[in-house]
Amino acid sequence: MSAALSLRPSASLPPTVVAAAGLRKRFGRNEVLKGVDVVIKGGRVTAVLGPNGAGKSTLIKCILGLVRADSGSLTVNGALVDDDPSHRADLGYMPQLARFPENLTGRDVVHLLRDLRGDALPEDDELFHALGLVPELDKPVRTLSGGTRQKLNAAVAFMFRPSILILDEPTAGLDPVASGIFKEKIARARDEGRSILLSSHVLSELDDLVDDVVFLLDGRVEFQGSLRRLREVTGQHRLERAIARLMQRGIR
């Protein structure tokens, strides 16, 4: 996968797909985002990392329009994120937990999302086949195992060919085989020029996939840049170690 990385042309500067400036969010007395400035570049895999409570989910939910920032600006593909829901047509979202209404089947869920999005594009059903979901689609969701539901969750995120994929802890509930298929899919999406934004705790699993890193600590961006730069800055080759080094630095 790193070979594919180096083959990509680096002459043209990648466009900015998500830009946050001075993003602040407070839940009651708890200030979760304390002025976050983030630029996410197109055609790359960006990992949002940080310990629990650092503000990863809140940042992701701000981009999705699920959470409204108190102040600061946020644009997705150049359009300001506000009450207008149309920017979400560019986004594919895979939430951390896949819980669907229990009496619906996978096919019902797929149809509902298709109806709501009204996209004319031919859908991407590759993951449904690759993850072996097709025979499960007509069963009520409540009878599916947690892993199968998570697969459905992943397949649905890719289905509408969004230009930006937002994956919250994507490999958490997937078995190793599914996880491998899923990672290949992410790499291919990147090579097609789409942008992937993911948050994850399981760092080593994603080492070979990540181009850029946004490291959040206590509501602030502690580090932002390419994986190579992160390695230079921390003197650590493995992402896991590099992050550990960043955390120590932040605590000091």
Binding site: R68, P85, E102, L104, L112, L113
Partner: protein, 262 residues
Amino acid sequence: MNAAKVLRYELQDLRRSRWVFGYGLLLLTLTDALLRFGGGGPRALVSLLNVALVLVPLVSVVFGTMYLYAARDFIELLLAQPVRRLELYAGLYAGLALPLALAFVLGVGLPFVWGGQGDGSLARPLAMLLAAGVLLTLAFTAIAFLVSLVFEDRTRGFGVALLLWLAATALYDAGLMFVTMTWSDYPLELPLLGLTLLNPVDLGRVLLLLQFDNAALLGYTGTVFERFFGSALGIAVSAGALLLWCAIPLWLAGRRFVRKDF
């Protein structure tokens, strides 16, 4: 448009739900039994009313809250689609309230139809019972929305839902009785009238009891209502107040849904 799409899928979900089915079946059995063994006529209707006034708010608010907490993750996924929040809310609300209202109408109405009592003198009170049940369903489903949106913690939300039900069906009347006994030397009719308007369950009761001419059925609040407003105006006022009980929680919950951080 989008509201209708969400509504359709939620209907599909709830149509297959054994809870809603069980609720309808319970009402059906109860109504049938009351019609057969409850003396028939107005007496069966009044017994039915008392059951409905307890059961409808309980199922609407408790099942509604439970359903919404369980659907929280799915609602988040829907909110991440290019859809306006208000449309989603409208679809979700209708998708929850309509199956419950339908279960009530069928569960109570069908035994009257096959018992051959759906016409004649009972038609009007029966229609009013069905209307009151539907309005109570709409009101308490909206309250369920409000509870699930205000309380993040589902255990607490569940407790609040139960407490609200208890307050509306039992505690409120106990309070009214206490007021009546304590200040029995004073003219209490007007204050009681106002207090009755504040409780949707009492409104449902008054709405139906005003259909009967038999003063013994009316109870205290009913009598006060009839004396003050007369039957026709009394019905209009209590129906109007009950509609407000649907509209205000629905509006509050909708506002909250649109502004909330999920």
